[in-house]
């Protein structure tokens, strides 16, 4: 047992001492591993928006935003390592883009007093700000997604899903299991039956699931997938000639790289989204002038405008707005994580504000409070046009069935509070 090796590590770590900066927003990204193809695009969008703010406006409120990156490979152990490595550098907020890492960090951020922002992923019941003081998941969560998808199907069927069957193809992990409860409840409410088809991570192997779909002929398929699982699922659906317009993915199953491998067969595939698609927004012109043309874009800007890139950028937009709100509220530009949390709790992104940013109608209106850390939960649907090679938005922002969801959120967050010994705050 010799400890010479740790000594070497010590030397390396000491040499790589933290740089204290004013606004530090670590980017726990993954550009390698089974989900690297998606993670890369998200991280690029996240980086580029802050680069734009730094280049164009000199940061937020005159403070340069630093975005140190740390590679997690979507692996929880590396995620913990990244969190520990960055938390003492003055980090304000974490956005790990992984439900697994989010679950690790939820108890930790409450003790270390850091904000955790998990747009569209993470623990759904974190919407209850009375229990999850440091976690925010606006604009929408997994249960919102399930509910909006069912609402859309209700619209398609004159308001009744009585006797219909819906198959849920899901990533067999915390992420994929999230919507099951909601869909079961909604199934009882609207009279459809649910078939659950788990797919083992990372998801290349789905032959038997699609064989079952071919045999049972469900009316609709909802998919909670990520990474390579989406591509395989869309290809398999095409192979069994499942009608693409009856196939709806969650927002993480709605990027170009998911549908492109299936080529023309993917035409008509639908997915949820909580942000706009394409590049027809004024902000992209600024991005071109200040970030991409001077060669400051992350990875040379090769993914600009893709669905996942835009979602990463949108997460950065919300964080930047919360930082701005926090600066206004506290009267100082050098905010602390506590002040940022207050900024999030008073965050209001109106359609007018989105237009000012240069992203009109890009996301739903967000209004958060001490109680509500999840916003309105509105999402919309997009459909893939294989000939044009682009996503088209096909619905307006739709509100989920809050009646069903709020009861579930109350129940799940109460269970967490009991387990973790948290007394819910008064709001």
């Amino acid at each position: 047992m010799k400890l010479t090796f740790p000594a070497l590590v010590a030397a390396a770590v000491m040499a790589a001492g933290p740089v204290l900066a004013d606004l530090v927003v670590p980017n726990l990204s993954y550009r390698t591993g089974p989900y690297g193809a998606n993670g890369t695009q998200y991280a690029d969008g996240f980086n580029d928006y802050f680069t734009l703010l730094n280049e164009r406006d000199g940061g937020i409120g005159g403070q340069i935003v630093q975005v140190p990156e740390c590679e997690t490979a979507y692996n929880t152990e590396k995620g913990v390592e990244c969190y520990e490595a960055t938390k003492d550098t003055g980090a304000l907020i974490y956005n790990p883009l992984s439900t697994g890492i989010t679950y690790q960090l939820i108890p930790k951020v409450a003790v270390d007093k850091k904000v955790l922002y998990t747009p569209g992923y993470g623990r759904t019941s974190a919407k209850n700000g009375r229990v999850f003081e440091w976690v925010f998941n606006a604009p929408a969560n997994y249960w919102d997604g399930a509910s909006v998808a069912v609402k859309y199907l209700l619209d398609q069927n004159e308001g009744s899903l009585e006797g219909k069957t819906i198959a849920l193809v899901y990533h067999n992990s915390a992420y994929g299991k999230e919507p099951i409860r909601t869909l079961q409840e909604l199934g009882e409410k609207h009279g459809f039956s649910l078939t659950e088809l788990p797919v083992e991570a990372p998801g290349q192997e789905q032959k038997s699931q699609w064989l079952q779909i071919r045999r049972e002929q469900p009316d609709y398929v909802i998919m909670y997938g990520w990474g390579v699982m989406n591509q395989v699922a869309i290809q398999e659906a095409a192979n069994i000639r499942f009608p693409m317009e009856n196939f709806i993915g969650i927002w993480w199953a709605g990027s170009e790289i998911d549908v492109q491998p299936a080529g023309a067969a993917a035409d008509g595939y639908k997915s949820l989204t909580f942000n706009g698609v394409g590049m027809d927004y004024p902000l992209y012109d600024d991005l071109q002038t200040h970030v991409i043309d001077p060669g400051k874009a992350s990875q040379g800007g090769q993914h600009v405008g893709s669905a996942v890139y835009s979602r990463g950028m949108y997460a950065a937009v919300v964080i930047a707005e919360a930082i701005r709100t926090a600066q206004e509220m506290s009267g100082t530009d050098e905010i602390t994580p506590e002040q940022l949390r207050d900024g999030f709790e008073n965050l209001s992104i109106t359609p007018e504000r989105l237009e000012e940013i240069g992203l009109p109608d890009f996301g739903p209106e967000i209004a958060m409070s001490c109680e509500n850390h999840g916003g309105s939960g509105m999402a919309r649907l997009q459909q893939w046009d294989a000939t044009a090679g682009q996503w088209n938005l096909i619905t307006e922002f739709t509100e989920p069935d809050q009646e069903v969801l709020s009861a579930l959120i109350e129940e799940d967050s109460a269970a967490y509070a009991a387990e973790a010994g948290i007394t819910p705050r008064d709001c």
Binding site: M1, K2, L3, F5, P6, L8, V9, A12, V13, A15, A16, S29, R31, T32, G36, T40, E69, C70, E71, A73, N75, T76, E77, V80, E81, E84, A85, K87, D88, T99, G100, Y103, Q104, I106, P107, K108, A110, V111, R123, T124, S125, N172, S173, A174, Y175, K177, E178, I180, R181, P198, E200, A201, D412, A415, Y416, E419, A420, G421
Partner: protein, 358 residues
């Protein structure tokens, strides 16, 4: 000159049979212990505990466990990840069902439960060996992960199937849950790693360890000289799974705090621990620690050097890191197929003969 045994006389069998027969080595060992117990707990911070030392100690325990089974008893196993999951889920169920009982007892019980499961999956080893046994234990790996994912009772019916460790204390200090301090985490793992390494060392040089090694070297010959293969093999499975179960329990409860079975205890974990003992050295206690250090610390070190010091992009660094670690593994195994422990032993022999080595 600096490392020799001249003048280091032994006058009893006891003295001759000790683990560290050379005085210099003994002092080195005591120094390491003194630093580990006496100094590090006072200077450790969150980063050092959570990113470096706690995972190192936990994987060292897992490697010790697998080394007992594969290195000493010769039973190839690919089920380490699954057995670690048993430890993790056992400790989770025990923690949440009996919150009043000390977490240390739960961790030991989790080890015991894993030992039972290990014996169950060790039963085929009586009929099959080598690659066939590897496949049987691989089945254990997949079955256990599937089971913990499938049956909601194991994860207390939570919506997402994740398990989260609530806060539990030893002597008033939290050792699990988010409020745990770095020294508390480190000390729990250190104490268990130290005790288990001590137990493993003494088991392997006693009669039971000799039986394991006899079975490993040639099972028919061992049977002829009176070793009962049933008891030897199953005891190896039991002891090994006990160690691995404790490693799993610590990995979940103390280190990660939350876990998802497919991600935290997948097949990759089995391979990781297997690589540790192959690189560290089969059939060596020191090798288990050296292998764990190599596989856990080297990537962290490389990451800090490449990203922190040289400022490389994270993805490039991650890829280069994989290549470097892979190349080092291959190089090591070509230069010394018996692992780091053998390399260390050779160094020591050379030093003892210095300045006239052959």
């Amino acid at each position: 000159m600096i490392y020799r045994e001249a003048g280091d006389f032994k006058t009893s069998y006891r003295a001759d049979g000790q683990t560290f027969p050379i005085r210099l080595e003994r002092w080195g060992y005591y120094t390491v212990l003194a630093v580990a117990f006496g100094i590090i707990p006072f200077v450790i911070n969150d980063y050092w505990a959570n990113a470096v030392l706690v995972p190192f100690l936990i994987y060292a325990i897992a490697a010790l466990g697998l080394n007992i089974l594969t290195g000493y008893a010769g039973q190839v196993s690919l089920g380490t990840g699954g057995f670690m999951a048993v430890g993790a889920y056992a400790v989770y169920k025990l923690m949440t069902s009996f919150p009043g009982v000390s977490i240390l007892i739960h961790i030991l019980l989790a080890g015991g439960i894993t030992a039972g499961v290990g014996v169950l999956f060790g039963l085929p080893s009586l009929r099959i060996k080598g690659f066939y046994l590897a496949v049987a234990t691989l089945a254990a790996q997949f079955f256990l992960v599937w089971l913990f994912n499938k049956v909601p009772w194991f994860y207390n019916y939570s919506a997402s199937g994740q398990i989260t460790a609530p806060t539990r204390e030893i002597l008033g200090f939290a050792v699990t849950g988010p409020t745990t301090s770095a020294p508390a985490k480190y000390l729990v793992c250190l104490v268990l790693a130290f005790l288990l390494a001590w137990v493993a060392r003494n088991l392997t040089r006693g009669s039971i360890g000799r039986k394991w090694m006899a079975i490993r070297d040639m099972d028919i010959a061992a049977e002829i000289i009176g070793v009962d293969p049933l008891r030897a093999k199953l005891s190896a499975f039991a002891v090994s799974s006990f160690f691995i179960g404790i490693a799993g329990a610590l990995l979940f409860a103390v280190y990660l705090g939350a876990a998802e079975v497919g991600e935290a205890f997948g097949i990759n974990k089995s391979f990781l621990v297997l690589f540790m003992i192959i690189i560290g050295g089969l059939g060596s206690i020191f090798g288990s620690f050296a292998g764990a250090a190599f596989m856990v610390l080297l990537p962290v070190l490389l990451k800090n050097v490449l990203v922190g010091n040289l400022g490389w992009p994270t993805d490039l660094a991650a890829h280069i890191e994989l290549m470097i670690v892979g190349a080092l593994i291959v190089t090591f195994l070509i230069v010394e197929p018996h692992g780091l422990a053998r390399l260390w032993r050779l160094t020591k022999e050379k030093l003892r003969l210095w300045p006239f080595p052959h």
